[in-house]
Amino acid sequence: MLGFVLQRLLQALVVMLAISALVFAGVYGIGNPIDVLISPDATQAIRLATIAAYGLDQPLHIQYRDFLLRLLAGDFGRSFVFNMPVLDLILSRLPATLELTLVAVLGATAIGVPLGMYAGYRPDSIAARLVMALSVIGFSVPTFWIGLVLILTFAVSLGWLPAGGRGETAMLFGTAWSFLTLDGWSHLLLPAVNLSLFKFAMMVRLARAGTREAMLSDTVKFARAAGESDAVILRRHVLRLIAIPIVTVFGLEFGSTLAFAVVTETIFSWPGVGKLIIDSISSLDRPVMVAYLMLVAFLFICINFTVDIAYAALDPRLRVKGAA
């Protein structure tokens, strides 16, 4: 087990290094950051001084080395726009995004998996067709458009829920969270639904496909032959059989949901990292872009790692023989 963990950590390190190089090349290597750093009417002397101060006169690989060394020291640079350390900036916005993403993905799984299982169990029923129609919509309609419709319906026409912002927050572990207050929930609901619809559709499809296949399997036939009821079979046998792809997708989608939060946060003015990255892209705030991408990559690797561990917990066949 230790060997497995070490091997994975080493892999993760290589991947992070590769991503840092790509990100560096993509964001620093292309274009000239100096135009953003100083005003166009600055004197040549100031210009050269700034270039030297940021090390932009150095060859690219030296710049990359310095960039890596600074990263290792936890220094992601300062935001050009907010003029504060990028790490602090991102960390201050991260809880809002994490909260939104977590509610969306958990909700999508908790509702999508049972519905998908039902659709796979009774594929010809009207309810199953309805669920599948909903999933086609969730799958193919762009997130931003669903967000607009949600705002138009629930905020503008019906006036039930607010159209944006985080609402009232409460402190926990030294951070402000919306999910601790009722007002916070009312603000959280629409963006969370918006963000979750795609995951919901995905969970429905996965659960349906898995259930359909499992229901035809000998395992289920054998359980039936033993007199087990369909409810027990679905809950105890099928759910466990389809858990592995679902956990995988749950993990992977958690990462991509963080990324998709970009769109939802923009529409609902949710002050998370997604909104931050959009703003920094439009203002070419490079340090923020780099730090954000590195952070997302890091999260992805952590998630993949966790998913691998969860696999072993869910599928006894993957456990190391000596441990069993």
Binding site: V15, V27, S140, V149, G255, I281
Partner: protein, 292 residues
């Protein structure tokens, strides 16, 4: 059942699903409308001289200064929305199809070649593809568009970069299975050049799964382009795609002028959902495991 060509059988089976057939009709009609847009719209939406601010933000059914009915209302510049939508469809379809076709060509070639060459090259290529697949396409496209700057070519490049990996993965999987079959070894033992074996023998046999991916990815490209345009990072303002029309109308939605955003959106959704439904049916038909 009398034996006909595989295509004929495929088509008949496709027609049995009424929903998919209706979706196919919608897709065909949309493409036709987009091609014929200049001949069917009442107004050229890019001809600024024909626009008047007095006609701006009028609701559906309004009869404008130029004397024709704006069936879907007008936008903030007094542009006829129906005309703007049809021109927007043109742009969205062009970008989506171009990006899909390029991603198909690049991805399929890469995947098939990787499977054919094998060894370290295959491992390295596929590792890279997997790594990229685990990274959300929208983020990649977002960053690329930000780095490359605005423009149709840049946007298509960003979409291709974000999507070729799906084709590469699919082509690799199918090609690796084909590579192991006897007919490939047989073809290789003849003096036919290896690249011909890849393109004439292996790739054609990988087509069915690739076609499914292609349908879904064209819909994805269109959605992605709309999303990027909505976020203000897509096409330049001179080429208003559906996403941009929706974004432009967003600010008026809260004041109740819903049509500026909603109708372009409906057109977009109709197109994307229809393509997806067609793709789903094709996939189901090509999936032997669901056959009874």
């Amino acid at each position: 059942m009398n034996a006909t060509s595989p295509v004929g059988r495929f088509w008949r089976e496709f027609c049995e699903n009424r929903v998919a057939l209706a979706a196919l009709v919608v897709v065909a009609a949309t493409i036709l409308l987009a091609i014929l847009a200049p001949f069917v719209v009442p107004q050229n939406p890019y001809d600024l001289a024909s626009l008047a601010l007095i006609d701006a933000r009028r609701p559906p059914g309004y009869v404008g200064r130029s004397g024709f009915v704006h069936w879907l209302g007008t936008d903030a510049q007094g542009r006829d929305l129906l005309s703007a939508i049809l021109y927007g469809l043109r742009i969205s379809l062009q970008v989506g199809l171009a990006a899909g076709a390029l991603a198909f060509a690049i991805g399929a070639t890469l995947g098939a070649v990787a499977a054919f060459v094998g060894g370290r090259v295959e491992t390295a290529l596929m590792r890279f593809v997997d790594l990229q697949l685990s990274f959300p396409a929208i983020l990649l496209a977002l960053v690329l568009v930000a780095v490359l700057g605005p423009g149709r070519g840049q946007l298509i490049a960003a979409l291709v970069a974000a999507q070729y990996a799906y084709f590469a993965r699919t082509a690799h999987g199918a090609a690796a299975a084909e590579r192991a079959k006897d007919y490939v070894s047989a073809a290789l033992s003849t003096p036919i050049p290896a690249w011909q074996v890849v393109f004439r023998h292996i790739l054609p046999n990988c087509l069915p799964p690739l076609i499914v991916v292609a349908t879904l990815q064209v819909a994805n490209s269109i959605a992605l382009e709309a999303t990027l345009s909505f976020l203000g990072l897509g096409l330049p303002v001179t080429e208003p795609s559906l996403g941009m029309l929706i974004a432009n109308g967003f600010q008026y939605m809260l004041s109740g002028r819903y049509w500026i955003s909603i109708y372009p959106g409906v057109a977009l959704i109709l197109l994307i959902v229809a393509i997806n439904l067609v793709g789903d049916q094709v996939r189901d038909q090509l999936n032997p495991r669901l056959k009874r």
